[in-house]
């Protein structure tokens, strides 16, 4: 997968530095330039890349006494710890609790895969023994309720929505109340796509959040989004308390760096990744084990399980 490709490039850049006997300023600059290029090609936000470059340089200068092999180690360590702090927000994702109604709300930009991902998430947890139910709080997009209905029918998951009610917060509240009464333990709220430039859409998101008081808000982001990812993700986070990220469409060729910038912006961990249009094309993501492999420079595959 693509994160691995990025990892390989970075490891390659570090290794080529290792071929130089003396690590002087020029060698370091070259190495950092290669790494920066790899990160930019992977859509990591340019500001974050610059920051990373500066931080590594600073770390190296502090350890200026060290020379040769030690210096290389210092650089290596600085690069990886920078990458890790970008990937690992140091917050644990919300754990679903058995025996109560967990309410999870999905938000994100238009067309990034929320509705599809809601179903995958419901299905994955159904297989773990939960009783999921889904609510369509998207009253805007043409065919939104039909889409969710058809998805749920295929997956055997109960759903709630309306063709006539125009207030998504009202639908969400009614749906949550009903499924709580019916003792579903995982209630998933799908919402319309929105973007930070339209205040009314963000206000609507806030209203839905207030109406359902979710236990967790999942920000869904398409793995191919570029430099705009960071600002959009930040704006979502500033409006509602995003607690987890799901990166979609990683079955393509996208390196997902925009999405990683979104992790940095929301300070929330990636919990799953989407790798296809089908309901089971969904993988759990373990930030910690991904990061530890990153640090170990070892095996890049297998940091996810199905």
């Amino acid at each position: 997968m693509v994160l691995a490709e990025l990892g390989n490039k970075i490891t390659g850049a570090l290794r080529s530095m290792a071929n130089n006997t003396f690590v002087d300023e020029a060698v370091l600059d070259n190495c950092l330039k290669d790494i920066a290029t790899a990160l930019l090609q992977a859509d990591i936000n340019i500001k974050l890349v610059k920051q990373l470059r500066d931080n590594v340089k600073r770390a190296v200068q502090i350890e200026d006494m060290a020379s040769g092999l030690n210096k290389r180690k210092v650089i290596e360590k600085a690069v990886f710890s920078e990458l890790c702090s970008m990937l690992d927000p140091d917050t644990e994702p919300y754990e679903l609790k058995k025996g109560r109604s967990n309410v999870v709300m999905f938000v994100g930009l238009q067309g990034n895969g929320k509705t599809t991902t809601c179903t995958k998430y419901a299905y994955a947890n159904k297989r773990k023994g939960y009783r999921p139910a889904m609510i369509c709080a998207d009253t805007f997009r043409a065919g939104a309720f039909d889409q969710l209905k058809q998805n749920c029918t295929k997956a055997g998951i109960p759903f709630y929505g309306s063709y006539t009610e125009t207030d998504p917060a009202a639908i969400a509240a009614a749906g949550v109340q009903r499924f709580r009464e019916e003792r579903y333990d995982l209630i998933i709220v799908d919402t319309s796509g929105r973007h930070k430039q339209e205040d009314a859409l963000f206000e609507e998101m806030r209203e839905i959040e207030e109406a359902v008081k979710p236990d967790c808000i999942v920000f869904v982001i398409d793995g191919s989004v570029g430099q705009a990812a960071y600002d959009q993700a930040l704006a979502f986070k500033q409006t509602v308390p995003v607690g987890a990220v799901i990166v979609t469409k990683l079955d393509g060729h996208a390196k997902g760096g925009g999405a990683l910038s979104a992790v940095a912006a929301t300070d929330s961990p990636i919990i799953y990744i989407g790798t296809g249009e089908h309901i089971d094309e969904f993988e759990q993501f373990h930030t910690k084990s991904f990061v530890s492999r990153l640090l170990g420079l070892g095996d890049w595959t297998g940091f996810m399980d199905k």
Binding site: Q110, A142, G226, Q227, A229, D251, G252, A254
Partner: protein, 308 residues
């Protein structure tokens, strides 16, 4: 090096430009392009071209190197974004109409980029120009795809051609074309399912639809949010269409619909990446979720935002 640079920048007169004069300035410009969401590879190539054009040139008196280099980049960007071939859809539709044939446009692209929505906007635009439009629901895969188009066609008051789900989209398109001709429609807009450029079976299915139906226009729909992936999307969609074609004159991407332009502030670089890679012009810019949110590309504005 920095001292040297400062000196050179302030020098006017007949200095011959050297690589070392131009390179640092171009590096800064490249970063600027990337920060505006131009793909790294594209930014690098543009900068390389400008560099090889500039090195060895004599500067006229009183021109600062920075100014000259920026001007050169500006004109390179303008040239890339200005269409080599112009497509006048309304004229082409008129011509088709005179021959009694419906003009067909197929919308293709990756998942969720805005194909169906912008197809509906194009329908609205064509209707404003007095055209009779029909829409063919050839996304027979994604849940709700047919109902999505039904909602749009009901609102717009145009005819929908659909055969439900799990049908062969190429066959549905063929039937739709026949129906459009019978109903004396001027334009048939064909919606297709989203797909990843690496998904071989789905790319083959798309190629089949195009080979079988010979649309007059193939529009690639790409979102302005896309980053470096724009390069791979355009390259592979174009290449696969050409490689899988059964015709002497293979269909390829004729034009681009750039969507979600309202979501990116000044990060307008995807437009440049897409046009640079495909050589196809941006025909429409989608800038919102209403039917009227469809515009033309303003090249001058994009270039100035890219360099601001």
């Amino acid at each position: 090096m920095m001292k040297n640079l400062n000196k050179k920048i302030n020098v006017s007169g007949q200095a011959v430009l050297e690589e070392s004069d131009v390179k640092p300035i171009l590096e800064t410009l490249k970063d600027k392009l990337i920060s505006k969401n131009v793909a790294e590879e594209v930014a690098q190539k543009i900068v390389n071209t400008v560099e090889s054009n500039m090195v060895g040139k004599k500067l006229t008196s009183f021109t600062r190197v920075t100014t000259a280099v920026t001007k050169a980049v500006e004109s390179a960007l303008t040239q890339i974004l200005s269409p080599g071939r112009n497509i006048n859809i309304l004229q082409e539709v008129e011509a088709s109409r005179r021959e009694g044939e419906p003009y067909s446009i197929v919308f293709i692209g990756c998942n969720g980029v805005g194909k169906s929505t912008n197809l509906a906007k194009v329908a609205f635009w064509l209707m404003q120009h007095g055209m009779k439009v029909m829409i063919a629901a050839c996304d027979t895969f994604r849940s709700g795809a047919v109902e999505q188009l039904r909602t749009h066609t009901q609102r717009l008051g145009v005819e929908l051609f659909e055969r439900g789900y799990e049908k062969d989209p190429a066959a549905v398109a063929k039937e739709a074309l026949k129906k459009a001709k019978e109903s004396r429609c001027d334009v048939l807009l064909i919606d297709t399912a989203g797909r990843m450029q690496d998904n071989e079976p789905l790319m083959r299915a798309l190629s089949k639809l195009i080979n079988m139906n010979n649309p007059n226009l193939t529009l690639f729909v790409g979102e302005a949010l896309v980053g470096n992936e724009a390069v791979d999307q355009l390259t592979k969609f174009n290449n696969r269409l050409i490689e899988l074609s059964s015709q002497d004159q293979p269909h390829k991407i004729d034009g681009i619909v750039l969507t979600k332009f309202d979501t990116i502030d000044n990060k307008v670089g995807a437009a440049l990446s897409m046009v640079y890679i495909s050589g196809a012009p941006v025909i429409f810019v989608g800038c919102g979720q209403q039917y009227s949110d469809l515009r033309r590309l303003n090249v001058k504005q994009i270039v100035s935002v890219l360099l601001s």
